[in-house]
């Protein structure tokens, strides 16, 4: 019986994740790796350090984002677009190729407090973490007893 409910919760939770997974969209980079902010210069098109005004504007935007799920949203926005590994240029002469991954290519576990107080834990990646969290937070209570008529 427990297993039935567990599976139902598992399915319902992941179904909610599925429903909203497509909502993830690329966000313009305004904040790079932790502690470093950069801007794309409108004239030269090159990356440069932020001006004091731009720092203030970014701070204000961050404060406005504060709220449910905003942390993960900011993290997604901050993630550099490092969507593939980098080649390891080694000193050896052997024909061996090396690939260095990045934090953005790691597996990432997120946890969400559901409406009934239970926790749902899902393994995704940093790019999709926000949409997965959002989907779980909007998931209905996963209880077969509530999904079916009882009399």
């Amino acid at each position: 019986m427990t297993k039935k409910i567990n599976n139902s919760a598992k399915l319902a939770g992941m179904a909610a994740v599925l429903a909203l997974a497509a909502l993830t969209a690329p966000v313009a980079i305004s904040q790079g790796a932790e502690g470093m902010r950069v801007a794309k210069d409108a004239v030269t098109g090159e990356l440069r350090a932020l001006t004091a005004e731009e720092h203030k504007a970014l701070d204000a935007k961050g404060a406005a984002d504060a709220g449910k799920g905003a942390g993960l949203k900011r993290a997604a926005a901050a993630a550099p677009a490092k969507s593939e590994p980098t080649l390891i240029k080694h000193n050896g002469s052997a024909r061996v190729y090396g690939a260095r991954m990045s934090d953005e290519l790691m597996s990432q576990s997120v946890v969400v407090r559901m409406a009934d107080g239970s926790l749902q834990e899902v393994c995704t990646d940093p790019t999709h973490a926000h949409s997965v969290v959002k989907a779980l937070q909007s998931a209905p209570q996963a209880s077969p007893a509530k999904a079916l008529e009882t009399e």
């Binding site: 567990n6 598992k10 992941m14 080694h90 000193n91 050896g92 393994c123 969290v133 009882t150």
Partner: protein, 502 residues
């Protein structure tokens, strides 16, 4: 050092090591990135918990890491130490959600050079597995220096949230640092860590993108050859980029074809069953045959052991004890059965109409009268649905049937005796030849939702697996620390990739 001399030395060393311990359990070294007073070095006093004897928060965190590493060491062999870089960091979180942590193989290697016979030529392997296959540490062999990060050459990089449980970081919910799995309302850190280390050891698509199907440097990852698409019968090795993308969202059609895993699947996954209600008997007449049914959310699920008996209908309406009889309280099976009905259903399968009271109430009253099972006929013409409700004291099976089937049965039951009818119901769920979480060929299914969920898709088991598996995308509360058959398919999959077991 001259490259050929260096390789010769490495080869000799590797050969000696291999000869000395052909099945040497792996050694996992945990390298902390934490500064003083943080993470593993947090001096906050804590009480020992769940088999974890640590008396500071830092000690307990390290003890779980060590215990998880010990479990992996006991399941895999390698003569080359596996280096895991670990840090406790302020990861993203808010009041209702948090990043728990992340992990993965930090470096991958592929070789087309006979001097470095690394598995399948020109195929990407996660570094821990690559090292295991060649018998030496590849970064050392190629003279790869650290990139300045301090963890550039490690096998697996991990980081977990140092703030979990603090205000505005899933407040009040912490990493459970016990080793016994009794996490209660908190997050089972052992299960989470075992899962993430599994990714780092190779349980992941790796260097190929599931979003675009493209391969880094055009070389496949070792993972790709083990994925067979049930629609095209192709593995990812022979697909185009577009075909790989399509296969990654081919819901419940992508199976793992590795021999170790396929062999272990019947020992691990539950045999699939199909619930069935069959009517038979000398008086069944035209009602004989299989009927549509809706399963109950309470009581035992139908299973391969049949429950068979004459069907006996209730003839009286009843009211719960202490409740005033009336049009909204008195109905079929709503109270203790009358003496006649109780005698009729004893050792039989009771048939009663839906209505007035809850399904679970009706079934419980029939159970109290000695019925072996219950059919509840719908009182409306409607598509078949299940029986909702809950009562943990119900021990007999029950199903819902269509109104049309209930009406037909009542006609046949009109000529029954007081204790038999000659119209027999069999409630059963015979094995259907499938495994729960595998395709028709017995290949365990990978998670391929549509749309794709990055990081989850393709690199986990499908969530239809039963019992729950460590490497499903969601961490379930009932996981154990056994990573191989008959509990789990994680180790068999890693053996398919090239790992060996002690």
């Amino acid at each position: 050092m001259n490259k050929s001399i260096k390789f010769a030395l490495n080869s000799v060393c590797a050969a000696v090591l291999l000869a000395a311990s052909a099945a040497q359990a792996a050694t996992i070294v945990i390298q902390s990135r934490d500064p003083a007073g943080v993470g593993f070095n947090d001096p906050t006093p804590v009480a020992p918990v769940g088999g974890n004897p640590g008396t500071t928060l830092g000690q307990q965190r390290f003890n779980v890491y060590r215990a998880a590493a010990d479990i992996w060491e006991a399941n895999l062999t390698s003569t080359v130490p596996i280096i895991v870089s670990a840090g406790w960091e302020a990861l993203t979180c808010d009041a209702g959600s948090a990043v728990l942590g992340s992990a993965g193989a930090w470096n991958f290697w592929a070789s087309g050079d006979l001097d470095v016979p690394l598995g399948v030529p020109n195929t990407w392997y996660p570094q821990a597995l690559a090292n295991k296959l060649v018998g030496f540490n590849i970064p050392d062999y190629v003279g790869q220096v650290d990139d300045g990060s301090g963890y550039g050459n490690v096998d697996i990089k991990t980081q977990f949230n140092v703030n979990l449980g603090a205000a505005n970081c899933l407040a009040g919910r912490f990493f459970y640092l016990g080793l016994d799995g009794n996490a209660g309302p908190n997050v089972n850190f052992m299960a989470t860590l075992l899962h993430e280390l599994g990714h780092g050891l190779g349980f992941a698509l790796g260097t190929t993108s599931s979003a675009t199907g493209s391969r880094f440097l055009g070389l496949p990852s070792v993972w790709e050859g083990f994925m067979t698409d049930g629609t095209t019968s192709k593995t990812w090795l022979t697909m185009t980029n577009a075909e790989r993308v399509a296969s990654g969202v081919n819901f419940q059609k992508l199976g793992w074809n590795g021999a170790n895993t396929v062999a272990a699947a019947p020992l691990v996954l539950k045999a699939g069953t199909t619930p069935k209600l069959t009517i038979s008997g000398v008086n069944a007449g035209a009602t004989a045959g299989d009927k549509a049914l809706g399963e109950a959310s309470f009581g035992p699920a139908l299973n391969p052991s049949p429950v068979t008996a004459d069907i006996m209908p209730l003839t009286s309406l009843t009211t719960p004890i202490g409740v005033t009889p009336g049009p909204t309280t008195t109905g079929p099976g709503c109270g203790p059965l009358t003496a006649n009905d109780a005698r009729a259903v004893l050792g039989k399968i009771a048939l009663m109409d839906r209505g007035i009271c809850g399904f679970a109430v009706k079934v419980k009253n029939a159970q109290n009268a000695g019925a072996l099972g219950v059919l509840i006929a719908d009182n409306l013409v409607a598509p078949i649905s299940g029986l909702g409700g809950a009562d943990s004291s119900i021990t007999i099976p029950s199903v819902r049937i269509l109104k049309v089937d209930g009406d037909a049965l009542k006609v046949r039951l009109a000529t029954r005796s007081r204790t038999s009818s000659g119209v027999v119901a069999t409630l059963i769920a015979p094995f259907n030849g499938l495994l729960a979480g595998a395709d028709a060929s017995g290949r365990p299914l990978l998670y391929t939702p549509n749309p794709r969920i990055g990081g989850s898709s393709v690199s986990h088991w499908d969530i239809s697996a039963s019992p729950n598996q460590l490497m499903e995308p969601n961490i379930s509360a009932d996981l154990t620390t056994t990573l191989k058959a008959p509990k789990d398919l994680t180790v068999p999959l890693l053996l398919d990739l090239g790992w060996t077991a002690p």
